[in-house]
């Protein structure tokens, strides 16, 4: 029903913002300059700097203040060109080869290209009588230094995270995967923002059809601005009406590198530290980078714990409501008596009580995230300690329920990916309503509905519950367990079967190895 409304939305008029001139540059220097000036009308931050090459040939350099390295422009472009002797810098080739000491130079032929280069910070050099301009790779802008990602911290593992700058992010990736088979495709998205989007993959590992599909979906995006990878995520999902994320987002280069090595594709966006990884399965959302860095037994145990609490964070309040409302006989008698005693003074049915406390807790959490850090601590103390205590003594909530809410809260923090935890936080409420109306049967029907939904989901063609449903024998060892590295010989089977093995078999360490 909702789908139809959304589908019916009429295609918007394809009007582009004042189309940048697709015309080529002319040989008339003044006209070129004029056109650029008119395009950058009322842009105080765009600097036009006319000068003479060797004292006779007119030229101009155009750049945006703050985006380009001014000292370098002075030292390697303006200086050598202005000091050039007559005849030394007559042709474009001579200028490039003899005079400008900038490593990266590109010739540009249209105004659109000029604008593109200027806007990413590369100064553009216009020269008299030339129908080509030179774009100089001197972009440099203020950026944040590398920091440990706060949302995905680890005890053991690399501590650097992506930043807002694309150049830094791709270099972080390249530093992890040095092979030239790491490919980085660039494209622009956003009518106004012209954001640089990069598709990273490893040639020979990622399925070619997957790469094409990612590229097609990205090219279909036509919106005013792309400010965060969340925009892209919503535009390329398989099923837009699902609470579950079908794309992983991460700030960690090591996570991206590991996923690339498994044959996935990463999408990086300029201006945000969050990279996207596709295709995604439910289990990859429940895996933390550290699982692979700690010893495998601990990794496995922690993984089980996490699966358990993933389920708990969805089910605990609804199980409580169901048992208290419908199935009191399941509770051992002594516990039942103490629970009944604490519920004696509560005027509400268990469902109302649970909904009330859960909503309060969600509000506290949201307030804690948005507030400044110093105030946030106060909120969490007031919220968790005082409200919890007061609710019990005021007879609004029973103490077992406060415990249930607290455990649920902690359980949902144990999901390593925030986007997956948030989906369960949302689903918890309909589950509580079902539990309040149909008891355990309602809970079970809710679980069935969620699993049926998960079974219909696909992320870029890969079923969301792979490798458990449909079952993929070889990959189960990295989902139900965290098999030791010397056993993880095969890559997860995603879309293709190319390049099945990721390491040589039989590397189980053994002191006797290599002696015979």
């Amino acid at each position: 029903m909702f789908r139809k409304w959304f589908r019916k939305a009429k295609p918007l008029s394809q009007k582009q913002p004042s189309t940048p001139q697709q015309d080529p540059l002319s040989t008339d220097f003044h006209e070129n300059l004029q056109v650029l000036r008119s395009i950058y009308n009322n842009c105080a931050d765009v600097i036009f700097r006319p000068f003479l090459i060797g004292g006779n040939k007119k030229a101009a350099i155009v750049y945006i203040e703050g985006l380009s390295n001014i000292e370098e422009i002075d030292r390697s472009v303006l200086g050598p060109l202005m000091d050039a002797a007559a005849g030394e810098a007559d042709t474009l080739r001579a200028i490039i080869e003899n005079k400008i000491t900038v490593p990266e130079i590109k010739e540009v032929k249209t105004f659109a290209d000029c604008i593109g280069h200027i806007s990413i910070g590369n100064p553009v050099l216009l020269i008299e009588q030339e129908d080509r301009a030179l774009s100089l790779g001197l972009a440099k802008w203020e950026k944040r230094s590398l920091e440990e990602p706060t949302a995905e911290s680890v005890l053991r593992g690399p501590r650097e995270g992506f930043t807002e700058s694309m150049g830094v992010n791709t270099s972080l990736l390249r530093r992890k995967i040095r092979s030239p088979r790491l490919k980085i495709l660039s494209m622009k998205v956003g009518r106004y923002t012209q954001t640089e989007v990069v598709i990273a993959y490893i040639e020979g590992l990622a399925d070619t059809s997957l790469i094409d599909e990612v590229r097609n979906r990205l090219q279909r995006i036509d919106m005013d601005g792309v400010l965060e990878s969340g925009y892209v995520e919503e535009m390329i999902e398989d099923n837009p009406f699902s609470p579950f994320p079908q794309v992983i987002n991460t700030e960690r280069p090591d996570v991206v590198a590991a996923n690339l090595l498994e044959g996935r594709v990463a999408i990086l966006l300029d201006g945000t530290p969050f990279a996207l990884i596709v295709p995604t399965t439910l289990y990859s959302l429940l895996q933390a980078a550290e699982d692979y860095y700690q010893r495998f037994m601990i990794g496995t145990a922690i993984r089980w714990l996490r699966y358990f609490f993933f389920v708990i964070s969805l089910l605990l309040p609804s199980l409580y409501v169901a048992v208290i409302t419908f199935h009191q006989e399941m509770v051992p008698t002594t516990l039942l008596i103490s629970m009944a005693r604490s519920r004696e003074e509560i005027p509400f049915p268990a469902l109302v009580e649970a909904l009330f406390m859960e909503i309060t807790f969600e509000t506290l959490r949201e307030a804690g995230v948005r507030l400044p850090k110093q105030v946030g601590a106060a909120v969490s103390i007031v919220g968790s300690l005082i409200i919890g205590q007061a609710a019990v003594s005021a007879g609004v909530a029973s103490s077992p329920l406060v415990m249930v809410v607290a455990i649920t809260g902690i359980a949902s923090f144990s999901v390593p990916r925030y986007s997956a935890g948030i989906a369960l936080r949302l689903l918890r409420f309909p589950m509580m309503l079902l539990a309040g109306s149909l008891g355990l049967l309602g809970v079970m029907l809710g679980i069935i509905a969620i699993i049926v939904h998960l079974c219909t989901l696909r992320s870029f063609g890969v079923p969301y519950l792979t490798p458990l449903a449909p079952i993929k024998g070889r990959d189960v060892k990295d989902v139900l367990f965290r098999a030791p590295w010397w056993m993880l010989n095969t890559r997860p089977r995603l879309t293709g079967e190319e390049n099945k093995y990721r390491q040589a078999p039989g590397q189980k360490p053994d002191p006797a190895r290599g002696t015979e």
């Binding site: 419908f326 199935h327 006989e329 399941m330 051992p332 149909l438 008891g439 355990l440 049967l441 309602g442 809970v443 079970m444 029907l445 679980i447 069935i448 509905a449 699993i451 049926v452 939904h453 079974c455 219909t456 079923p463 519950l465 458990l468 449903a469 449909p470 079952i471």
Partner: protein, 370 residues
Amino acid sequence: MIEKGKISASQMGIMMYPTIVATAILWVPEATATRAGRDMWISPILASLTGFLSVYLAVRLHRLYPKETIIQYSEHIVGRILGKGIGFVYLLFFLQLDWSILREYGELMVGQFLPRTPMFVVLGSMLLVCAAAVRGGVEVLGRAAQYFVPLFILVFGMISLMLFPDLKPVNMLPVMEKGILPAIKGAVEPLKWFGEFIVISFMLPFLTDRERGMTWGMITVIATMLTMVVINLLVLWLFGEITASLTYPYVEAVRYISIADFLEHIESLVMAIWVAGTFIKIGVLYYVLVLGTAQWLNLSDYRPLVYPIGMLLVITCMWPRPNLAELAIYLKYIAPVIGIIIQTLLPFLLLMIALIRKRVTNGGKAVQEG
């Protein structure tokens, strides 16, 4: 083809297991105990012969008409008009099978766990969930089964372990006191469940590995048979002669569990897991009904039929049998007969006719090749 999804042969097997076992664990112990007494555990073994036969028939027919279901190839075998007739009979049969399962589920839920909830709500909520799965197609059903069946087996395995201290194997002696006849009588009712294996003829066309269809069909029959034997034995060892007088012996057995004064009265939890199995069963039969109807009417898509047929199911479910006693009579005396005729005899006849027709049309060719 209407269904674009593909499943593997193992998925088919995993789907068929709860399709047979989910309701069998509730009804078979009581039914076999009434007629076979202490030899109730032999009955499923005898009854499973129809299971093997059904799988064999379905696979043989499938090999003759690889891309079609029984609704479609019955037209090729006995001609258009008669074929449509047989197709209609099958649709009616699956309709009654599906509503009787749904009704059994509703009776159990309302009778044992939710006495004050209207039957309509219980049935409707289940059907809504099933409809979502059926709309997803055979792939989604298969994957959901892969999720629930291990859980189902795990929980029931654990229950068997927990019952261990109370079991008295002596209850089963003497074996075959009155000869094999009581066991054969007891086998009449489980026949219906094993006959349901004909449902695989609706899944075989969508297999990725067709050659393994027979193997997995047979494995599932064996697994089903073993499950029924184990459950009959558990109930027999636990309750002995009184098994026949209990409505749901297995539920009573679960009620019996009490370990360390802590794990007791877990029947609600067990029922919740059982609901998952029933969901697969109702879902598969619902899917077969919807797909069959679409094929019978030569539609290009079966999805528009999902909700209308769902409503039909709820109505038929509420209407023909007023209470559990009448339902039990229907299930005990009428359903097995219909079941044997339609699930086993009719496919058998179809296969015979198909083979004869093939012999007649290919006769000349075969001689030449020879």
